[in-house]
Symmetry: C2
Subunit: 211 residues, 2 copies
């Protein structure tokens, strides 16, 4: 059976879990205890030699990287979340990369400095926070515009690109992101977070840690 | 005909050009003059409404994002650079994302502050440079290890993952990256840069700007 390795506070690692739920893939999941250093244990390095979450194991086949795992799950399931048509795949690929390079990476800067660094006693880099917020201010309007014109990023139905977006914006509260200027996006996220694929994972980001 | 829009100093935008050359795709390319602001011109926004390079146009179909365009080119060409097998695609997807998220993004921090910022008179963020160099120090040994075990990132033959790596490390000199600790990677890059797919594009990164 497909097994997904993740940690509930690693938002890139939630992408494959949401994808598996949304595509109704039969899978099991296992939390890798990042705080205890389990990602560097010999057992976990057998699954992912690079010591990061997420990872995936299916029989003897193992792999890592959030969007790569999501594509693998969709292909195995023959899911319409990543249909076979070349142009449809191209559009989904484009939006996955737009989200991960221009939104998720910016959220990561803010989340690290506002949430993770204080927790682990690391230095806070306010300049990195401001750079991240600047990227979001440039790129979130593009997402807002897409969701004003379409029900989902790539049209009328949910695809892997939407799952990437939902995962990227998980730290909305912990990173103290203000999304109020993006009314379509805020409403869209609110709806997605009431859907079964999401509530089967958690009630909200951080719930597993009592946040 | 497939048309690729790029700028020779935007290293993510070189990925699709190298990929088209390596897969012997029939294509034409057009430089978008970033210094003159051509990426914001009405004509270019018809191609890519998000005002970035790279972009691709094939008939009425347009798209953006470096790795997404590379996959599109490979699928259209039926190329072994991205074969149909699900596990092979998964491995290539994993390494494209490993390279783009953990190498290219780090190179971008260093390149921006050491090369672009002085050119455009922007502030230099030394802390961002150090963060980028730190990421490279953590992640380049993984690449070095892969290239010690395999001729290419995903085995015996070149794939889109290798093209992503070559593009990501284009700013080796302009960002003053010291790759001497990674002898396999250095030799591998040196060889790739003598190959036709590369020399058809330029003699070295920056050559078009007289660098």
């Amino acid at each position: 059976m497909i097994k997904l390795y993740y940690h509930p506070i690693s938002f890139p690692s939630l992408g494959p879990v949401f994808a598996a739920e949304a595509m109704e893939v039969t899978y099991e999941k296992e939390v890798v205890d990042l705080q205890a250093g389990q990602q560097s244990s010999p057992e976990y390095l057998e699954i992912n030699p690079y010591g990061k979450v997420p990872a995936m194991k299916n029989g003897d086949f193992t792999m890592s990287e959030s969007a790569a795992i999501m594509r693998y799950l969709a292909r195995k399931a023959g899911s319409e979340f990543y249909p076979e048509n070349i142009e449809a795949q191209a559009e989904i690929d484009q939006w996955i990369d737009f989200v991960n390079h221009h939104i998720r990476s910016a959220v990561a800067r803010v989340q690290f400095n506002r949430f993770v660094a204080p927790m682990i006693g690391a230095d806070i880099d306010e300049s990195s926070v401001q750079t991240g917020l600047g990227f979001l201010k440039s790129n979130l309007p593009i997402i807002e515009n897409r969701l004003s014109e379409n029900a989902f990023l790539c049209g009328d139905t949910m695809t892997l690109a939407d799952i990437a977006l939902i995962a990227a914006l998980e730290p909305e509260k912990t990173a103290r992101l203000d999304l109020s200027a993006y009314s379509k996006l805020s409403a869209w996220l609110g709806t997605r977070r009431t859907e079964t694929f999401y509530t089967n994972v958690h009630s909200h980001f951080g719930a597993e840690m009592g946040i």
